[in-house]
Point group: C2
Chain length 201, copies 2
């Protein structure tokens, strides 16, 4: 943390209540975490569409897309992965503050990184959704062909193969996408957001 | 730039047109640049309120606020200032993509940084607004007492004192806030956004 005594917080004139009145929903972060191939991108896209159908603005922060722009300077060392998640947590907090239903689709393998994101965003609007699928199922799906490359030694430190995935200790929702389809997953998440009064009934 | 051949772009199912139909406006970035004390924060807040009154979602990315979170790891060296602006440009592009009228309020003293932001966001939705005020006026206003500290040697590399401010070479709008009030500035910016069909008449 850099010394910042000459930096003061600039307060918007638009209160969260005013924003909610205009938009019809509260800002929130739906943080999808799970192995590559667990269904994050698929569920994120379907969820975004469903939130739009309800008439609210949603936006996906996707691990791959963010690595093309904001985090294009980062690699895959443990340090860079941590910084990758730190920045995404900070950006997700800004999006939630703007009243967006923010869908984060990142492997985000480490508990500490997800916990920091939760703190930045705020407990009352952070929803950690763990896509709980056995590695063997993800590896069989292998939608991007990455597991094959990792097993062949073409990718190092691949989560689930030679880099750990730490399961969430207390997520808001667990969905087994080996046994449930996309519609089920989206319905579960929408239901959770309604119960938390992020989206109105 | 890190090698990223294993990262593929994930395309949202919500097209920009679908998003515009829901929100009633296009996403855009209004990039306010100018010396400390030139009126960026004041105009940003008043503009945000006015966009809300029209019924569109606006959000301010403020230099000081972003340095508290996303860019808390950065200092004030030339390199860190460049990275500060690079990241804000990338985040502003994401916000514009989400359909938000994104108001960036950063001194952003270097032409190269603002040009890179323009490229990231896209020419058709990037609006550079130069708050053109003589240094002596800003220094007299000194709303945060920073010029006094800079003159006293308590702050090094302060823009306008011992660090340069490069005037925009081709901004979409120039506003002299020494001779015009906040309402005038906001009206000029709203008018520009309507002419560009970002906001509907």
């Amino acid at each position: 943390m850099v010394e910042s005594k000459n930096i003061v917080w600039s307060q918007s004139n638009i209160s969260p209540e005013k924003r909610e009145n205009l938009l019809g929903n509260k800002g929130a972060v739906v943080w999808l975490t799970g192995l590559s191939g667990s269904g994050k991108s698929t569920i994120a896209k379907a969820l975004e569409e469903q939130v739009f159908k309800i008439g609210c603005n949603a936006y996906i922060l996707d691990g791959d897309n963010v690595r093309h722009s904001l985090n294009a300077d980062l690699g895959f060392s443990d340090e860079d992965r941590e910084e990758n998640i730190r920045r995404v947590g900070a950006v997700a907090a800004l999006f939630a503050d703007a009243g967006i239903i923010t869908i984060v689709s990142f492997i985000s393998p480490f508990e500490i990184g997800r916990q920091r994101a939760r703190q930045l965003v705020g407990q009352d609007r952070f929803f950690e959704v763990f896509l709980d699928v056995p590695l063997k199922v993800c590896e069989k799906r292998d939608p991007k062909g990455l597991y094959r490359k990792a097993r062949d030694g073409q990718i190092a430190k691949f989560t689930g193969i030679d880099s750990p995935y730490e399961q969430p200790s207390n997520p808001e929702l667990i969905i087994n996408t080996a046994e449930n389809n996309v519609d089920y997953a989206v319905a579960e998440i929408i239901n959770m957001l309604k119960n938390a009064e992020i989206i109105k009934e």
